[in-house]
Symmetry: C2
Subunit: 204 residues, 2 copies
C-alpha cells in the first residue's frame, strides 16, 4: 500500500475549525480582561465563544493551555522593528512599543495572564519564552546596526540591551504594579542607552 498512513480520513483545517479557534481565543481574551487568569473558566469561555463546552475541553484541555495558545498566536503577529536612523530613536521606539502593548487593555490583560499561568504551567512558560525570544531577537538587530554606524561600542550585546530597555517597564507592570507612561518608557530607553554608550553592555 503506497497509500500508507491517513488511509482513513483526512486532516481538515477547514473553515469551521479555524472559526472555532478564532472565536475561542477571542472569548478567552475577553474573559481575561474582565476576570483575570484565576477567574478564567472553560465553561464561560465556551459560552462566550458560542461554542460547545466539549469542544473547548477537547482542543485545549486546560485554561493554561488556552492562554498558552493565545500567546503563541500573538507571537506570530509581532511586527518588525522600524529603523528610525539612530539608536536613540530605535530604543525609544522599542520602549514605546512595549508601553503600548502593556497599556492596551486586551494585550495587557493577556500578558499578565500568561505570566501568571507560566508560574505553574510549563506549556504557558514555553509560550512566554518563545514570544520574548523572538521579540528580543528581532529588536536586537537595531543594536547591531547602531554598532556598525559607530553609535555604540564594538561588541555591544544586542539582546541584553533590548532586555534592559523593557525590564523596568515589565517590572512596574508585574512586580510593583505602578502605572507606566511615556515618561517612564523614555527614561528606560535613555538610561539603557547611556549605560550602553559607556560600554556596560559589551561582552567579555
Amino acid at each position: 500500500m503506497e497509500q500508507e498512513s491517513r488511509l482513513a480520513g483526512t486532516v481538515r483545517p477547514g473553515g469551521r475549525t479555524a472559526k472555532v479557534r478564532a472565536a475561542v481565543l477571542q472569548a478567552t481574551q475577553d474573559e481575561l480582561v474582565e476576570r483575570g487568569f484565576h477567574g478564567l473558566i472553560m465553561d464561560q469561555v465556551a459560552a462566550r465563544a458560542g461554542v460547545g463546552k466539549t469542544t473547548v475541553y477537547r482542543r485545549w484541555s486546560t485554561t493554561a493551555g488556552l492562554v498558552a495558545d493565545l500567546m503563541t498566536e500573538l507571537a506570530e503577529q509581532s511586527s518588525p522593528p522600524p529603523d528610525t536612523g539612530t539608536v536613540d530613536g530605535d530604543l525609544r521606539a522599542n520602549a514605546l512599543s512595549v508601553l503600548g502593548a502593556i497599556t492596551d487593555p486586551r494585550l495587557g490583560a493577556t500578558f499578565q495572564a500568561v505570566i501568571a499561568a507560566a508560574t505553574c504551567d510549563e506549556e504557558a512558560a514555553a509560550a512566554l519564552r518563545a514570544f520574548y525570544a523572538r521579540r528580543v531577537a528581532d529588536w536586537a538587530k537595531v543594536v547591531d546596526v547602531a554598532v556598525d554606524r559607530g553609535e555604540l561600542p564594538e561588541g555591544t550585546d544586542g539582546p541584553e540591551l533590548i532586555r534592559a530597555v523593557s525590564a523596568p517597564l515589565y517590572y512596574r507592570l508585574v512586580v510593583t504594579r505602578e502605572p507606566v507612561d511615556e515618561t517612564i518608557a523614555a527614561q528606560a530607553a535613555s538610561r539603557a542607552l547611556i549605560a550602553a554608550r559607556a560600554g556596560a553592555f559589551t561582552t567579555g
Copy 2:
C-alpha cells in the same frame, strides 16, 4: 457600666492561635513550592498543616488571602541593608540580596505566587506593593549616603536607582524565565551604577 465593650470574652492571641497561623503559612509555602499558586487549594493546605479545613476558611477565606498574608509576614522579616562603604558595594549587595531571595526555592516560589495572585486579587496586589515599597525605601538610603559622599550626582533618585538594579532580575524570573546567577546580578548593579554616575537618575 464603665466596663463597656468586650464585657463578654477576651481577645486571645494565645499559643494555639499563633501555632495554627504559623503551621498554615508554612504549609502554604510548601504547597506553593510543589504546585504553584494555581494549584494551591485550601483543602490541601489545611491537611498539610494538620489543621481543620474550617479553620483555614474562617481565617483566610481564599487562597489569594493566604498568599497575601504570607507576603505580609515576609515583609516584616526584611533585613536592613548593610553599609559596605561604597555605592558599588551597596548596589552589588542589593542585587545579591534579590538574587538570594528569588533563587531560594521557598522564597522564589512564594514571590512568583504572589505575583500571580496579584494579577487578579487586590489584596495580594496590595501586599506585594507594600513589600516592595518598604524594601525600596530601605535600600534607597544607601543612595542618599552615596550622594553625600560625592559618589553620585546631586539629586540622584534613590528609589528609582534601587528599582533599576532589581528590575532586570525580576524581569528574568517572571517574564523571560531565564536562570539568574551572580553574573547577571553583578551586571545589573554595575549597569545601573554607570547610568547613575552619568546623571541618568537625577530628578528634574
